[in-house]
């Protein structure tokens, strides 16, 4: 995984850390404290889904955001973002 992608993904995880923590506390921590894992074996399967789906949502949303951004940038300029950011020799 390239440095830019890695930085982007960690940035998105940092950005969503508080909603993610709030969600996990209410859906996982509180039922665990109340003994849901001991009394209900289905809870373990449910907990796995609850644990994984938000993480998958974050990664998929990031990937879609990057694709949309890249597409819009290319449509706006007709060139790649790299070409756009390169200074013009004439203006020097």
């Amino acid at each position: 995984m390239s440095y830019a992608v890695w930085t982007g993904v960690t940035g998105v995880f940092r950005r969503t850390a508080l909603p993610l923590a709030s969600y996990y506390v209410v859906t996982l921590a509180l039922p665990l404290i109340n003994g849901a894992a001991r009394s209900d074996s289905a809870f373990v399967k449910h907990a796995l889904v609850v644990l994984v789906v938000p993480l998958a949502v974050i990664v998929i949303a990031y990937a879609i955001g990057q694709i949309v951004r890249a597409t819009l940038t290319n449509q706006d300029t007709g060139r790649s973002p790299v070409t756009k950011s390169r200074p013009l020799r004439r203006s020097l």
Binding site: P19, A21, V53, V57
Partner: protein, 189 residues
């Protein structure tokens, strides 16, 4: 009192106020959870009734209160029951907003304001997000798209997680922007 001592006293007072706000938020969240655990569907009218109304507007279905059951749409054969109330979403959103805005608390008045605003915002968000979740669930019930590896129940569960978590992230972003603090983590200066 010399200046450093006065500043230290002010900081100590602010920390004490913040701790009191966190304790009050925990009591409110616990009270909500207890109320939800003991409540009949009729007792949850304050969240189920507005949710049923918004879902009606979104989907065109008509919901009526069935005592002991919840809000039933006879034409769509769909029941908004106690488990659909979204009380857990209110608790998650309320806790998230209190933590997010806690650094704004400097006095008892601002602490009370934070608790009130967070509670109202989480309630409003819960009605909207829960209505979206139920609306999508009704759509999925009418037009099942369950891939072979998932049951309809799995799809319903995943849909609930995606909408609830997405709602929390959206609420978080909206409040951050309204609070005037653009998030810069992960970006290079």
């Amino acid at each position: 009192m010399c200046e450093p001592a006065a500043r230290a006293a002010a900081v100590g007072e602010s920390v004490k106020t913040k701790l009191l706000v966190v304790a009050a938020a925990a009591v409110i969240a616990w009270g909500l959870k207890r109320h939800y655990a003991d409540a009949r569907p009729e007792d949850l009218w304050w969240i189920l009734s507005p949710t049923a109304r918004v879902v009606s507007v979104m989907t065109g279905a008509t919901f009526t209160l069935e005592p002991g059951e919840g809000y039933l749409s006879r034409d769509r054969l769909f029941l908004i029951e106690k488990a659909c109330a979204g009380v857990n979403f209110i608790i998650a959103a309320f806790g998230m907003l209190v933590v997010l805005l806690l650094q704004r608390v400097g006095s008892a008045v601002s602490g009370l304001r934070l608790l009130g605003v967070s509670l109202l915002a989480s309630y409003a968000a819960a009605v909207v997000v829960n209505s979206v979740r139920i609306g999508v669930a009704m759509r999925l019930a009418d037009h099942p798209i369950a891939p072979s590896m998932f049951t309809a129940s799995d799809v319903h569960r995943i849909e609930g997680i995606v909408v609830y978590f997405g709602g929390l992230v959206l609420l978080h972003e909206i409040v951050r922007r309204l609070d005037g603090r653009g998030y810069t983590a992960g970006r290079r200066p």
